[in-house]
């Protein structure tokens, strides 16, 4: 039995093609996936992301607990509402999950974790809490729905749907959030555009969704969510990194704080490990479509595409690939697609940010 978000009926009414996404019955697309992609780059798209789990950690030791639990440094979070992106590692330095951590107050941090890993994450955190004697309480917030409002027109759409939040959205800085009662609005997203991720009580979600559509937001499925995040150069857990991959070989070194003395789970393993690979962007020069698991041939040995697709903004195929070190942007590599070897160029990603193509 697939799990349903509070917006399941709304997706079906809109004629969405539904798919099993990690045990959740989710919209893949409502019509043309490419049109949905452009709607986010040029206007405002709406995403039901209620399958992701908001998890409230409460207790006097929540900050010391997170200092030890995750690879990024939660001491960067000092102002209430500030958000931090981080990996949670295992002892071997592999990635258990990537998550966003919101600092609310010294007794309350809110985490947002991936849908497919939520149970595993919770079990791991509860084990750490018990082992470390930190005495936290964990509240999985399945009573909250999450809707992402993304694109250059996102502020206008959100303000029209929720009269009275204008002041809030105008003052909300990127990567920060504000809570008003049970409503929680963050200026975050997974598209490379301006936008918000809003949490509301599940019973209010269908009404809020409808108001956002009436304000001009376009419903967007998981298909376009993937092409948008890939253009934006954002990793997808389970594809671009997982428990067998080091964050240092997954383009996530910027999220691993090795500058301070802080001891965190996985640090010792990372410091002992030898980094031999890097995550790079690829732009296909020949015709075709790059896909995950295709082999990449470089002068320093073989690598593998972790995520590949056709980029609707570039009108060309793009990918993230894990390849040997020593291959620089601008160099050409070959990708094995069926019985052919096609030419691709290594590029620095993101490919697209705020509607603009960033690669040459």
């Amino acid at each position: 039995m697939l799990k349903h978000t509070p917006l399941n009926a709304a997706h079906r009414e809109l004629g969405a093609k539904m798919v099993d996404f990690g045990g959740w019955d989710m919209p893949l697309n409502y019509g043309s996936q490419i049109e949905e992609h452009h709607a986010v780059r040029n206007g405002c798209g709406l995403f039901d992301v209620s399958h992701m789990l908001a998890l409230d950690l409460k207790g006097a030791n929540v900050r010391p607990f997170l200092r030890r639990l995750v690879a990024n440094n939660v001491d960067k979070l000092q102002a209430s509402g500030k958000a931090l992106y981080s990996c949670m590692l295992n002892e071997a330095g592999g990635v258990i999950d990537d998550l966003i951590i919101y600092f609310m107050d010294e007794n309350w941090f809110r985490l947002v974790v991936n849908a497919g890993t939520a149970e595993k994450d919770l079990a791991w955190m509860e084990k750490c809490n018990a082992d470390w004697g930190t005495g936290l309480t964990f509240a999985p917030r399945r009573d909250l729905a999450m809707i992402a409002i993304q694109g250059p027109d996102a502020s206008r759409v959100l303000n029209a749907a929720l009269p009275g939040v204008d002041g809030l959205t105008a003052s909300l800085k990127p990567f920060s959030a504000a809570a008003m009662g049970e409503m929680f609005i963050a200026r975050t997203g997974y598209t490379g555009e301006d936008g918000f991720e809003a949490m509301v009580l599940t019973k209010s979600a269908p009404f809020f969704w409808k108001a956002l559509i009436e304000a001009g937001g376009k419903p967007i499925g998981l298909g376009a969510r993937d092409t948008l995040r890939l253009e934006a150069g954002m990793n997808l857990y389970g594809q671009d990194m997982d428990e067998t991959a080091s964050p240092l070989e997954s383009g996530l070194a910027w999220t691993v704080d090795l500058k301070t003395e802080r001891d965190f789970v996985g640090r010792a393993a990372l410091e002992k490990s030898e980094v031999t690979k890097q995550l790079v962007g690829l732009l296909l020069l020949d015709k075709g479509v790059l896909r995950s698991h295709q082999t990449v041939l470089t002068k320093n040995g073989a690598g593998e595409i972790t995520s590949g697709t056709f980029s609707p903004t570039l009108q060309q195929s793009i990918a993230l690939a894990r390849i040997p070190l020593g291959i620089a942007p601008g160099e050409e590599v070959e990708v094995e697609i069926r019985d052919k070897k096609l030419k691709a160029k290594v590029v620095k990603y993101p490919f697209v940010r705020n509607g603009k193509i960033l690669i040459a």
Binding site: K17, L28, N29, S32, Q33, I34, G223, T227, K287, G288, V289, R291, T309, F310, P312, S317, R338
Partner: protein, 129 residues
């Protein structure tokens, strides 16, 4: 669901039109393009290539996935549609006019083994579960 009665079909979602001169025009069905979504890349076989029945001979790729197209019967490729390679989205717009390639069947009688519209309808329905 659009399954024209005047065409023949395969269980792997190709449609086949038997032309007056006996050649076969081949494409993918409306159902197939609906499953795949927005088409972005199509590769057709070169004219002159000899195909065995069921041989992989063309590729259609949407944003989501790549899918092989198989030869419905044995034969020789006599034409490939350069227009669909240039505009893959034409398959989404009208799957039955956006043909991929034409073959001259090795044995014209093989056409009788293809599915008619009613039989293909059953294939589509059985996949819906």
């Amino acid at each position: 669901m659009s399954i024209p009665a005047d065409l023949k079909y395969t269980p792997s979602h190709e449609w086949v039109r038997v032309e007056a001169d006996g050649t076969l025009t081949i494409g993918i069905t409306h159902h197939a393009q609906d499953l795949l979504g927005d088409m972005v890349f199509i590769e057709t076989p070169a004219a002159g290539r000899t195909l065995a029945k069921g041989e992989e001979c063309a590729v259609v790729e949407s944003v989501k996935a790549a899918s092989d197209v198989y030869a419905p019967v044995a034969g020789e490729v006599v034409a490939a549609n350069a227009d669909v390679e240039a505009s893959p989205e034409s398959v989404n717009q009208d799957a039955y006019s956006a043909w991929l390639f034409k073959i001259k069947p090795a044995n014209p009688a093989d056409v009788s083994e293809l599915l008619d519209a009613a039989a293909y309808q059953k294939v589509v329905e059985s996949e819906a579960h």
